[in-house]
């Protein structure tokens, strides 16, 4: 006999009091004290059993040890775990719809200004695409189960604390939980706007108890995830430039570099005057991003509060761009008496963003269009800006001059808040009323100054060679505001009758939205220093004003029924009207039903089976959802009267119809069928959720119909077309503790197949085609089948669109008419990824914790063009491979075609929309790693601190991809189909962060 003692803790390092500790097979035991400590007389071979309600039971063999410390895992998927659903909550075990959710703590392992990007890879079925790493403009696209519409908006509805709201404007630290409603059954309660899924965000509420003050600080060293390898050697640049000119038949020696110029750089001793200037280094910087969060929470006598004040200072990796976000979240809950509960959550957000007027993409391409022959400022130290070295060069604007002079200032004030009142009318009958208001106001100052640019070698008295191109001149101030009140009131009745359990919900909701814009502009300013309208001359001023409104009215209801908690049945319905449809077509009905069978609860489900497969549930659902997210006035024929024409010496106002109206439009509808299986293994240590779905959107509201231009009006909105998204989602979670190591692994995979079922006449839009039977907006390109190595190759080949020369790209004559033209374009797969996947591992040991998160996407292709990928676009730099391995008579087997001068057939040949620039954008990236350490409480209590955590976090540390040079992760196409566009995109950020969190 000996004494064993130890400490029981939870994975996050908290002590676990009241845990039962028993000796297996013997009637002997104890419970842990307030500090989680226990002591027990045992024999050497005894097995200890640690158990507590809500925690996974754990066994440990004493094996002669004096001390046995245990970490107890919380039970996942346990009976009373609750998830947020539309207009209420639901026990997880009773769910019949397809729902995924994630906790704020999990997503906040990554550090981000915009919480939307944190959802990436966390919930199967939700595809998150971050278009860029630009500070304050990450442009995150959310898609639930594929592209659901090509006419109306395909974005999911975002509900914050029960009211439509904004996720972007939240402080990530304020998020308690995020839930995605994916199928019709779970989302139909939001019928009108749920066709593309619903994302429910719950913010953190206070917990009763002593006030807890926490301060978080984080600093992230941020740089571009990747940048191309451009040639920034001036002599190499000039030589290839001349080669390109000669390749293109340019003979004017004034249009290329003379030997004298090349020699000046080659033999230069003054590298200040004859530099090899690296423009990427001048524009892309490594910057520190700092985040502060101060939170206070607690409560007593029925009232709880949680207040978080957040501040992010995010200078961008590109000069000129910056973002500051100030956020205040105030959540209050008050229990007035046993029956009445009252509360509110309010978000106040202020964003202060500065950026080049034309955005980061324009700034990036301007950077690439500069040659290494000169820097941004003249070499004479005068501070004057450079336009170029030699007059015949034609680069875009000087990006450094733009960053220092021509920025847009965007101040955005945002408020979302709601109040609710819950009244228990009778036992089981609850009345809830909630009203919310979203209000945003933004003020945009775009000042286009007059900035002189000089030739690099200009003398002190030389005139400027051109003005900085800032797209005009003068100041434009734009005010935008949006008021969006929403209110609902509902009754819930929840009652069990023996083995029968019934829950009924009925409610009504009203929404109204009004957007207003007011713009003022003046052209002439006495200097660049007074950027307010009244500083400008009143002679040349303009103004604009726009107001738009829409509204919705709805009735909704839900019935849940279960028998013995084994057979589950749910019905949802919503009856909606929208101001966007004509009188007799405003109202529409969106019903859904779903059912579940918890097989593991059946008597026939034996204990033997249960020991292995501890849970088994089947789910099925079907239902219809609506979409009305189109322009505000699509059915009214209107005349635009904002034009004028001067017949004499005064303006006559003008009016004309510009778009065809269609007064017979109605709701777009989406029908979703879903089958799901939820499995638990080994006492639910391993959980698997699988869903198969078929989502069909019909009567698509679209104006991208076959509408000939000769009609002279913009195309009308019509209900036509059908899209199908069919796919599978699998989520796996595994948790186990090994001694003092607690391990949690999870993985998600989602695969969606998009198909156009009905579109009518096929439509070619640029490089993509919309054709029935294909994914929406599939690539439609000429096929590049190599390079003409010699004149013989040309002679033997079909006639090319641009008369071919050796070194040109060869395109396939698909239809065999011996002539390559637009009829030879072919459909190329790759518009959408085949599947996305993610993997998350976290482990804790003693006071250490480690999280690793990987995210990948497979099968998507992107057509890239212009600056950075095509050499000499606007005289810009080229990647090293063009210098080393492009076609010349001496290098006929080169991997790249001949280099041409801009605007010539040689360059136009390369720029032909073909598979040559169609790049594989599959990637797997180490999205995040976080290593944390919680200082022992014993050490901290002496200095009055109850918790101190320090951590290191890294974001986008590694990327595996075939995509050349830049980040493969980029925005989705605005048109909805394949991504086709400029190569240059603000890259994602690679972040090395260090942070600390102190709780008092």
């Amino acid at each position: 006999n000996s004494t064993v003692s130890g400490k029981v803790t939870t994975p996050d390092g908290q002590t676990a009091p009241g845990v039962s500790v028993r000796v297996k097979g013997k009637n002997k035991g104890t419970t842990t004290d307030a500090n989680g400590l226990y002591q027990l007389q045992v024999e050497s071979q005894d097995v200890l059993i640690f158990s507590q309600v809500g925690m996974a039971t754990k066994e440990a063999t004493v094996n002669g040890q004096k001390q046995v410390n245990i970490i107890l895992q919380e039970l996942s998927n346990q009976m009373d775990e609750v998830v947020v659903v539309g207009y209420g909550t639901q026990k997880k075990v009773n769910l019949t719809g397809a729902i995924a959710s994630v906790d704020g703590d999990v997503v906040n392992k990554r550090i981000a200004t915009n919480p939307t990007q944190l959802l990436q890879g966390r919930m199967p079925g939700l595809r998150v695409t971050q278009a860029s790493g630009e500070a304050g403009n990450e442009n995150v696209n959310l898609q639930v189960r594929g592209l659901g519409s090509y006419g109306a908006s395909a974005s999911p509805l975002i509900i914050v604390d029960g009211i439509p709201g904004s996720l972007t404007n939240l402080n990530p630290q304020a998020i308690e939980n995020v839930t995605v409603l994916k199928d019709a059954a779970s989302a139909a309660i939001y019928g009108a706007r749920a066709a593309n899924g619903v994302i429910l965000v719950t913010t953190k509420q206070g917990k009763a108890g002593k006030a807890k003050l926490t301060y978080d600080y984080n600093i992230g060293i941020t740089k571009a995830s990747s940048l191309p390898d451009f040639v920034y050697n001036s002599v190499d640049y000039m030589k290839l430039y001349n080669q390109a000119a000669i390749n293109s038949g340019i003979t004017n020696s004034n249009a290329m570099f003379s030997q004298e110029m090349i020699d000046a750089y080659a033999n230069a001793t003054d590298k200040n005057l004859y530099p090899d200037f690296n423009w990427l280094d001048a524009v892309f910087k490594t910057v520190p991003v700092q985040t502060h969060n101060l939170s206070l929470s607690g409560g007593g006598s029925g009232t709880t509060y949680n207040v978080i004040l957040g501040y992010v200072d995010q200078p961008d990796i590109m000069v000129g761009t910056s973002f500051k976000k100030y956020n205040l979240q105030i959540n209050l809950n008050a229990k007035i008496n046993e029956r009445i509960n009252f509360g509110s959550s309010i978000t106040l957000n202020y964003g202060d963003r500065k950026y080049p007027r034309n955005g980061s993409e324009d700034q990036f391409l301007s950077t690439i269009s500069q040659s290494p022959l000169y820097g941004p400022y003249l070499p004479d130290g005068s501070g004057r800006y450079t336009s170029r070295a030699y007059p015949f060069q034609s680069p875009n604007k000087n990006p450094v001059a733009v960053a220092e002079n021509a920025l847009t200032k965007l101040n955005n004030y945002y408020m979302q808040g709601n109040l609710f009142l819950n009244v228990k009318l009778l036992e089981g009958l609850e009345w809830r009323t909630s009203g919310g208001l979203n209000y945003s106001f933004s003020k945009n100052y775009t000042f286009k100054p007059v900035v002189e640019q000089y030739l690099w070698f200009a003398g002190p008295n030389d005139a400027s060679s051109r003005l900085l191109d800032v797209g005009g001149q003068g100041l434009t101030v734009t005010d935008d505001n949006n008021v969006y009140p929403v209110g609902y009131t509902q009754l819930t009745y929840d009652k069990s009758f023996g083995n029968h359990h019934l829950k009924v919900l009925a409610g009504t909701q009203v929404e109204y939205n009004k957007t207003q814009m007011l713009l003022g502009s003046r052209l002439q300013f006495p200097s660049n220093e007074v950027p307010e309208l009244n500083a400008g001359g009143a002679g040349q001023q303009t103004n604009e004003g726009v107001t738009e409104e829409w509204s919705l009215r709805s009735y909704y209801g839900r019935i849940n029924y279960d028998y013995k908690g084994k057979y589950l049945l749910e019905g949802n319905a919503r009856y909606d009207a929208s101001s966007r449809f004509p009188k007799d077509l405003k109202w529409a009905f969106f019903p859904s039903v779903s059912g579940g069978w918890r097989i593991a609860e059946e008597a026939f489900y034996g204990d033997g089976l249960k020991a292995v497969m501890s849970d088994l549930k089947l789910r099925a659902s079907i239902g219809t959802l609506g979409n009305q997210n189109i322009g505000n006035y699509p059915y009214q024929t209107v005349l635009n009267s904002s034009y004028a024409y001067p017949f004499e010496e005064s303006l006559q106002q003008a009016a004309r119809q510009e778009a065809m109206a269609n007064n017979r439009i109605k709701w777009e509808s989406t029908t979703v069928v879903d089958f799901g299986v939820d499995l638990g293994f080994f006492n639910n240590k391993l959980i698997a959720n699988f869903d198969w779905y078929n989502k069909v959107t019909s009567d698509i509201l679209s104006s991208s119909t076959a509408f000939p231009a000769y009609i002279g009006l913009a195309a009308p909105t019509v209900n036509y077309g059908e899209l199908r998204n069919r796919g599978v989602e699998l989520g796996l979670q595994y948790r186990e503790t090994f001694g003092e190591v607690a391990l949690s692994l999870s993985g998600n995979i989602q695969a969606n197949r998009n198909k156009v079922i009905k579109y009518g006449a096929e439509r070619i839009q640029g490089n993509t085609i919309i054709r029935e039977g294909l994914p929406y907006g599939s690539f439609y390109l000429l096929q590049n089948i190599g390079i003409f190595r010699s004149q013989d190759d040309i002679t033997n080949a079909p006639v090319q669109q641009i008369p071919a020369k050796p070194g040109y790209l060869q395109f396939a004559d698909v239809n065999g008419d011996h002539q390559v033209d637009n009829n030879d374009r072919v459909v190329v797969p790759g518009a959408f990824p085949n599947f996305d996947y993610s993997f998350n591992a976290s482990a804790t040991w003693k006071n250490f914790d480690l999280t690793v998160f990987l995210f990948g996407s497979q099968g998507q292709k992107i057509f890239v063009s212009e600056w950075g990928i095509v050499p000499f676009r606007q005289g810009g730099v080229f990647t090293r491979d063009w210098m080393e391995d492009s076609w010349t008579p001496e290098n006929p087997n080169a991997s790249l075609p001949i280099v041409g001068a801009e605007g010539t057939p040689a360059a136009n040949n390369v720029r032909t929309a073909s598979t040559f620039f169609l790049k594989d954008a599959s990637f797997l990236r180490l999205k995040n790693v976080q290593l944390g350490y919680n200082l022992p409480a014993s050490m901290l209590s002496k200095i009055g601190i109850s918790g101190l955590r320090i951590y290191f976090a890294g974001d986008n540390l590694l990327t595996f991809s075939k995509f050349p040079g830049l980040d493969p992760e980029r925005g989705v196409s605005s048109g909805g189909g394949a991504t086709s566009g400029r190569y240059v995109t603000h890259p994602q950020n690679k972040v090395f962060a260090f942070g600390t969190s102190i709780t008092f």
Partner: protein
């Protein structure tokens, strides 16, 4: 329940707050004025200087880009569709003017068609008043159909507003001859009903007569063209402006100018022309030496023959219209020496910039420069030259032709040696004289490209032209008629519209 219902109704009835609802339109004279201005407004559009750069042009005050397609000028920016088209690079997906020429023309035609279909609803207008509105709308419609036929040849013809019905979506490309007939009918209506006064902004009888001459001439109906021009000459409403050649292209000379017969009007700040910004600041159109060399010496002889020509002082003793139209090295663009033109420093490879349509009081120019110059589509000198050409083609040289030419040459500040019938021209010789006079008189006015096309010489001329950067122009015969937008062909094919095909050769 009642109050809830009415509340619901109001909540869900949302109409635009900043646009006119069509239900309330076509009631008053003011509506007719709004709609008519809506038709004219297309003339001045095409370039929004506050939000764009040099990528577009060809409309309104940016019409000089058309000369970049001829042997007279060069459009240096390869991001401009005119540059691409000038180098035989036009395809169904070129974009820029290749698609806008089609789309904007039909938007304007649609606006005219809607006015024509609805104007009779306005009961307060007399028939005479209505006919004036109709005449102007039909004139504008003819202007755009004429552009369409010159660019694309056969195009869909509609004289009614088109709708959502299937028939509207299934129009064929109507043969050009039928469209020309429709244009002539529109112009004849305008000639009959528009006031026979001088021009001040609204199209008048003379505007329509002048356009009719141009349409007939373009379609080689020489007799009819000459006779129509004769009417204008006889009616004496218009005359050669004696206030200075350059002032035809600048305010205030353009106000109540007796020579201008139709133009796109501008009035800064709200409706301004990009002319100075585009031609002086952006240098979007650069005259070529072929044009410069074509100006004769003051003795009327070409520079290759005239003893007055001094290669070391090449711009002296030349037709005064050269200095009035073109800027060469050293010319002041403003009022002092700092505005002197330096082609190397400014990267103007050819060495020339336009002076026509440039107002030196706007120097130095920038993106903010707002011009007020109206773009002249038709002037009396053009009518005289068209008369000369049509008459020569129809009946050969005669004194009336010589008189017409001399009237143009004897403008007070031009004052070039007069032609004399006694010099016994053959029809062919006189044809060359007329064409040469047309080239210099109308240089950089957006005419040359269309003249070369209608004379059938565009390929032989352009194949000899080299741009200042050394690139050869070359002209593919198929480019005489442009491809319509690829999207339009794709739509037609998808709808099964057999009558709508791409322009031959594309």
């Amino acid at each position: 329940a009642l109050s809830l219902n009415s509340c619901t109704k109001d909540l869900l009835e949302k109409d635009p707050t900043d646009k006119i609802s069509e239900q309330n339109f076509w009631k008053t004279k003011s509506d007719a004025d709004l709609a008519l201005a809506g038709c004219y407004e297309f003339l001045s559009r095409g370039y929004n200087a506050t939000s764009s750069t040099a990528a577009r042009g060809g409309w309104g005050g940016a019409s000089m880009l058309w000369d970049g397609l001829s042997d007279d000028a060069f459009v240096p920016s390869s991001s401009n569709s005119f540059n691409v088209i000038s180098r035989s690079g036009i395809t169904p997906t070129t974009g820029g003017m290749q698609t806008e020429g089609y789309e904007i023309s039909y938007q304007a035609i649609g606006a005219c068609n809607r006015l024509l279909a609805n104007i009779d609803k306005i009961a307060t207008l007399s028939e005479e008043q209505r006919n004036i509105y109709k005449g102007e709308a039909r004139f504008i419609r003819a202007h755009y159909y004429f552009l369409l036929t010159r660019l694309y040849g056969d195009v869909p013809l509609t004289l009614q507003p088109l709708g959502l019905d299937e028939a509207s979506a299934m129009l064929a490309r109507t043969p050009k001859a039928a469209i020309i007939s429709a244009i002539l009918e529109d112009l004849d209506f305008a000639i009959e009903h528009l006031p026979n006064t001088s021009y001040s902004g609204h199209a008048v009888r003379g505007s329509a007569l002048g356009y009719k001459v141009k349409v007939l001439l373009t379609n080689k109906q020489w007799d009819a063209a000459a006779n129509t021009a004769q009417i204008i000459i006889d009616e004496k409403v218009f005359s050669i402006y004696q206030g200075g050649y350059r002032n035809l292209f600048r305010k205030p000379g353009q106000n109540n100018n007796p020579e201008i017969m139709f133009s796109a009007k501008f009035l800064p700040p709200n409706m301004y022309s990009p002319a100075d910004m585009m031609y002086s600041y952006l240098k979007a159109v650069q005259p070529l030496y072929y044009l410069v060399d074509s100006y004769t010496c003051t003795d009327g002889k070409p520079i290759t023959e005239s003893p007055l020509y001094d290669p070391s002082n090449p711009y002296e003793n030349r037709d005064p219209r050269l200095k009035a139209s073109i800027i060469y090295e050293g010319v002041w663009r403003g009022t002092d020496a700092s505005s002197a033109f330096d082609p190397v420093f400014e990267n103007v490879l050819g060495g020339y910039l336009p002076r026509k349509y440039i107002n030196e009081s706007k120097w130095p120019t920038s993106y903010a420069t707002q011009s007020d110059q109206d773009w002249v589509f038709l002037r009396y000198a053009d009518v005289l030259l068209m008369y000369a050409e049509a008459k020569n083609e129809s009946s050969g040289p005669d004194q009336t032709i010589i008189d017409a030419l001399n009237q143009v040459r004897s403008r007070s500040d031009v004052n070039m040696p007069l032609f004399n019938l006694n010099d016994s021209y053959s029809r062919e010789e006189l044809r060359e004289v007329i064409r040469q006079e047309r080239r210099v008189e109308l240089a950089l006015e957006g005419q040359r490209y269309f003249d070369l096309k209608r004379w059938g010489v565009i390929k032989e001329v352009m194949d000899t032209i080299q741009d200042p950067d050394g690139a050869a122009r070359l002209f593919q015969a198929r480019d005489t008629l442009w491809p319509v937008p690829q999207s339009e062909v794709d739509i037609a094919r998808s709808l099964g519209n057999e009558g709508y095909k791409q322009t031959p050769g594309f």
